[in-house]
């Protein structure tokens, strides 16, 4: 059997795919945005993960999104992939993606999610209920930022 086949059968590798490890080690969009229009703080009280998200929206379009914070590979990779994915989406699209992404992890990982593109590398988290909150932290935070909620987004 090829090495790739071997890897795909390993459920841990499905969780920790190369893309995820890559984004966890070298997170994209790590930092702050110069013209912040929306921002929110996310916190997972169970594990202490925290995340600060800054977004610049102009004419209903996401021009830039960056994050900072500490977290595990899953939560960091999720935030990194999310901020990449968001660029140039309009607010309505972004809100739809948030819903679909959370749905993929909590409801239906197996059905097709054409709108989520590269984000589907995180679908494997569905099989690790203890880790779903790690993957959704950035998304709950984005949701709070888009709604301009002043409060801290929490996974609890």
């Amino acid at each position: 059997m090829s090495q790739l086949g071997e890897q795909l059968r390993d459920p841990l590798r499905e969780l920790y795919q190369e893309v995820i490890i890559d984004h966890a080690r070298n997170p994209r969009n790590f930092g702050t945005v110069s013209n912040v229009t929306h921002h929110a703080e996310g916190f997972n009280p169970l594990c202490g993960d925290q995340l600060s998200l800054e977004v610049e929206i102009e004419n209903n379009k996401i021009k830039d999104a960056k994050f900072k914070g500490t977290g595990c590979a899953i939560s960091t990779a999720s935030a990194s992939l999310m901020t990449q994915f968001l660029k140039d989406k309009n607010v309505g699209e972004a809100e739809q993606i948030v819903k679909e992404f959370i749905d993929m992890l909590t409801q239906s990982p197996k059905i097709e999610h054409p709108n989520l593109g590269k984000l589907t590398v995180l679908a494997g988290v569905h099989d690790y209920p203890a880790r779903v909150k790690c993957a959704t932290l950035a998304w709950h935070t984005l949701d709070a930022a888009l709604k301009r909620e002043a409060k801290i987004a929490s996974t609890e």
Partner: protein
């Protein structure tokens, strides 16, 4: 009696099972311990043959239940060498015991400007109850600092003690690091300024000898589930004279002598602090657990656990990219650590996949994590049913974790 770990493992049914296709390696004993068959049997036997309410009926079962409940109290008394059985108050566990002291003693005696002294090592349950009583009374919370090894700095502790200090609350053993604190010496120093001393013994009872007369503390709190007994039972030890002078904590049945609508009078200790129907079955099971430990021999247990700690520490010291958090001279068998560049939660998930249960996170000690500048740690906490082979498996799995992240 010589120590035979295979024989001991056979006493714990849960250890025989597989998790994720691998024989369970349970290294989360600081969170809760597994229960030997004698404890499970004590529970079943109580509910099958004796179940009845205590201190109330004249019928046979009620008297038997009362006797068994009080016998368990005496077992706890002897286990920590308290002077009298009535100094043991059954409660839900350490958290409730500390809240009892904070409210029934602290709230009624503290005044504005009085001080409560704790340490940087404390579990949230030995921090928050004191913060609450500070809000209620105007008392001030002081915190004794620790050094890089995770030991309380005794000179700083001495400096913080003054005539303003009314209560000192310190854990006997730190749950996050394993540090054994010099509680006898600390109690003596606290008494010298007139403070009362509560020792949080949640992590100590299973792993070090506890002699409350020798320590001379005023209160000692413990949880049954950390000494191989069920969850939902524990006890507070308090010196009789102090308990007698205290107001009740909760009120209701069981804790009264007479009730009238004008005034009620309270039962003597320990009943004064045991309002309502107590957790009889679990108290009896706690007695069974302590008897089991005594039979195996606490010296044997502690000696063996120390061997496990030394073995694990040696492997950790030689493991590239691993940093041990908590290197006190005096430690119980807890190994907390972080791996370079890999978050503890990811370590925990991968270890779980190998059938290895460890705790990852802040371990209810967020101020301590801040001190060590880590968001979380991986904690392997060992008990006398663990083996060197299991420790080998832990480190083998940690190598897999690193490979996964290469």
């Amino acid at each position: 009696m010589s120590f035979n770990v295979d024989k001991i493992r056979a006493d714990f049914p849960i250890l025989q099972q597989q998790v994720n296709g691998k024989l369970l390696v349970y290294l989360d004993n600081a969170a809760t311990t597994q229960k030997p068959k004698v404890v499970l049997d004590a529970l079943i036997n109580y509910y099958q043959t004796t179940n009845s309410n205590v201190h109330r009926g004249v019928h046979t079962l009620s008297m038997q239940a009362t006797d068994a409940y009080e016998a368990a109290r005496t077992t706890c008394q002897k286990f920590i060498n308290a002077t009298e059985a009535r100094e043991i108050i059954f409660c839900r566990g350490t958290t409730e015991a500390i809240n009892l002291v904070a409210q029934a003693y602290g709230r009624n005696t503290l005044k504005t400007g009085d001080e409560i002294l704790i340490s940087q090592l404390e579990h949230h349950s030995n921090i928050v109850p004191w913060q609450l009583v500070c809000e209620q009374t105007g008392a001030i919370l002081k915190v004794a600092p620790i050094n890089e090894q995770g030991e309380i700095m005794m000179s700083e502790y001495q400096t913080l003690l003054s005539s303003k200090t009314k209560i000192v609350a310190i854990n006997h053993v730190s749950n996050s690091l394993g540090t054994i604190n010099p509680v006898k010496e600390m109690t003596m120093m606290a008494h010298a300024v007139g403070a009362k001393v509560l020792i949080d013994g949640a992590q100590a009872l299973a792993h070090v000898n506890v002699d409350v007369q020798d320590i001379n503390c005023d209160f000692y709190a413990a949880s049954g589930h950390k000494v191989y007994a069920p969850m939902g039972i524990g006890f507070l030890y308090g010196k009789a004279a102090i308990l007698e002078a205290m107001q009740p904590y909760q009120a209701g049945g069981e804790m009264i002598q007479t009730v009238s609508f004008l005034k009620s009078t309270y039962a003597p200790i320990p009943q004064k602090f045991e309002a309502g129907t107590p957790n009889v079955g679990d108290a009896i099971a706690l007695g069974a657990a302590l008897t089991y430990l005594t039979k195996i021999g606490r010296e044997n247990i502690h000696h063996y656990e120390h061997e496990l700690l030394d073995y694990a520490t040696q492997q950790a010291d030689n493991f590239p990219g691993l940093r041990i958090i908590g290197t006190a001279k005096d430690k119980i068998s807890i190994l907390a650590f972080v791996l370079d560049g890999i978050h503890p939660h990811d370590v925990g998930t991968i270890l779980d996949h190998e059938g290895i249960a460890v705790r990852t996170g802040h371990h209810c000690t967020m101020p301590l994590m801040e001190f060590f500048k880590v968001p979380a740690t991986v904690r392997a906490s060992m008990a006398f049913y663990n083996t060197k082979q299991e420790i080998d498996e832990l480190f083998c799995a940690l190598r897999k974790v690193q490979e996964m992240f290469e």
